[in-house]
């Protein structure tokens, strides 16, 4: 029973992280029909930038014993040492997203294949540069030392504090914030109108390019936040860019591209299936947990067989 609760929580927190990353991906696609294949690279870069800021600005305070073998664990991290990198990295990635859109994608509007190839190329280049600079060993962003490492839930279930509280709360706040932006603000209304009929929005005197800039800023920021959360919750390592791109794709394919609610449902489905398949794919002596990824694809095939546009998808 305890194990089941822990595994479920694992799934939920994974889902929360997937949602944060995939919501940016799906919003960008919904408005601009751009499949941003560099979204995973922005995720990982966001994490690495936060790590770099944390190590450069906040590592040296406290202990002077730089030779300690156990490394970072000796350093005291204040709450600022986590939040400042989070905010800065998020903003930097947001701006980078805008640059990417304006420099590479803007003049290829409507050319889906070109845009996909350009963003794939960018993500490959970024991946190599990140590998060259930060190396191949996985690294963590340190959570503030003042935060507990774990919490004890009723029924004596222990679960990571950052994972169980911070990431879940962040996903809920972000989800709610995005919902309000899309539902209540003029920007959000224009975005929804733009998803329906972009040309008609510009015929009303609205500069759609400016809305695109706003959307790419927001979408890339979400990848950046995801990178910092993921880098603290799991770790940062080469290959996670493609892993999170793939996750985002699966999430939005399940949920329906362009739909925020779809991203939430898709992330939940993927997170829970991932978590359960990792543990419960054991039948007697046969341990199939190595093949858990197949269950993910079975989920994908199942959804697509019934709803080819995803659960909340609409024809483009």
């Amino acid at each position: 029973m305890n194990q089941f609760v822990t595994v479920t929580l694992n799934g939920l927190t994974l889902a929360a992280l997937y949602f944060v990353v995939a919501s940016g991906f799906t919003l960008i696609f919904g408005l601009m029909r751009v499949v941003n294949m560099a979204h995973g690279a922005l995720y990982l870069l966001g994490g690495y930038i936060a790590l770099e800021i944390q190590t450069r600005w906040f590592e040296d305070e406290g202990s002077g014993l730089g030779l300690s073998l156990s490394g970072a664990s000796d350093t005291e991290y204040s709450v600022f040492a986590w939040f400042v990198p989070l905010v800065l990295a998020t903003l930097i990635i947001g701006v980078l997203g805008v640059v990417l859109q304006q420099v590479f994608l803007r003049w290829n509007q409507g050319q889906d294949l070109r845009q996909a190839l350009i963003t794939i190329a960018l993500s490959v280049i970024l991946a190599d540069q990140m590998l060259a600079y930060w190396g191949g060993i996985s690294k963590d962003i340190a959570a503030p030392s003042a935060w507990p490492t774990s919490i004890t839930l009723p029924g004596d279930v222990r679960f990571g504090f950052f994972r169980g509280v911070v990431v879940l709360a962040a996903a809920l706040i972000i989800g709610l914030g995005l919902y309000l932006i899309i539902k209540r603000t003029r920007f959000g209304k224009i975005v929804r109108a733009g998803v329906d009929d972009r040309d008609m929005v510009s015929a009303l005197g609205i500069n759609v390019n400016r809305v695109f800039i706003g959307m790419f800023f927001l979408g890339a920021m979400l990848a950046g936040i995801g990178g910092v959360l993921g880098g603290t919750m799991i770790s940062l390592a080469p290959g996670q860019d493609t892993a999170f791109l793939l996750n985002s794709l699966i999430v939005v394919i399940i949920g329906g591209m362009g739909s925020l609610g779809g991203a939430a449902i898709g992330a939940l489905a993927l997170g829970l299936v991932d978590a359960y398949a990792d543990v419960y794919l054991v039948f007697g002596d046969v341990d199939l947990t190595n093949y858990s990824i197949i269950v993910t694809f079975a989920l994908l095939v199942g959804v697509l067989a019934v709803r080819p546009l995803g659960l909340f998808g609409r024809p483009a």
């Binding site: 109108a193 609205i206 500069n207």
Partner: protein
Amino acid sequence: MSEPLLVIEDLHAYYGTAHVVEGASLTMGAEPVALIGRNGMGKSTLCKALSGTLGVNGRTTGSVRLDGADIQGKAAHKIAKAGVGYVPQGRRLFQSLTVDEHLQIVGASSKAAWTPKRVYELFPRLAERKHVSGTSLSGGEQEMLSIGRALLTNPKLLIMDEPSEGLAPTVVETLIETIKDLAAAGMGLLVVEQNLGVATALADRVVVMVSGSIATETTSGQLLSDPEQQKRYLGVEPLAEAA
């Protein structure tokens, strides 16, 4: 001000490689003009070319001047800001937005001539259905919303593409009255219509589009009294004409 409201000279419009509007020219002032022609002659494409909404594969060449300002090939939002309001064929409302949201997104200044409040005064039906999704309105209400939305850009020239399409006759009559009032108040009007009754009720001047250009022009009086013209320009009896 000697410059006419709208001057189109040798306008060409393409979708990809398809050449749809082939050298259209038209000069009009603030008086209403009806644009007629058979299906596939390029009327809607001309409207899209004028409003800048041909989409990513479309392009135009030639010259279009509104009140003396060159608007040919400009981005749609600049054309709208310059004073062209566009009421497209099929209304093209936003299915995710309510009636009120349709009017809010335009961002009309509260000091402008047209505000959401004035649109609601013009179309009280819309005020009653403020929070209803735009696409669940009746056909007539949808057309009202599409017009109201375009009015909020405070246009000098309103381009309407088949406003009466798919509407009940009584609804069309009310619509004609409203559009006439707008024109009487000094708004330029270019109306594409397949419905002869609507076209002639709205405008005295009738221009005819054939094979992508403005072929000829007539008046509503002449057109109404001459069945031969009607047949030729609107293809009321296309089979007889082909023979």
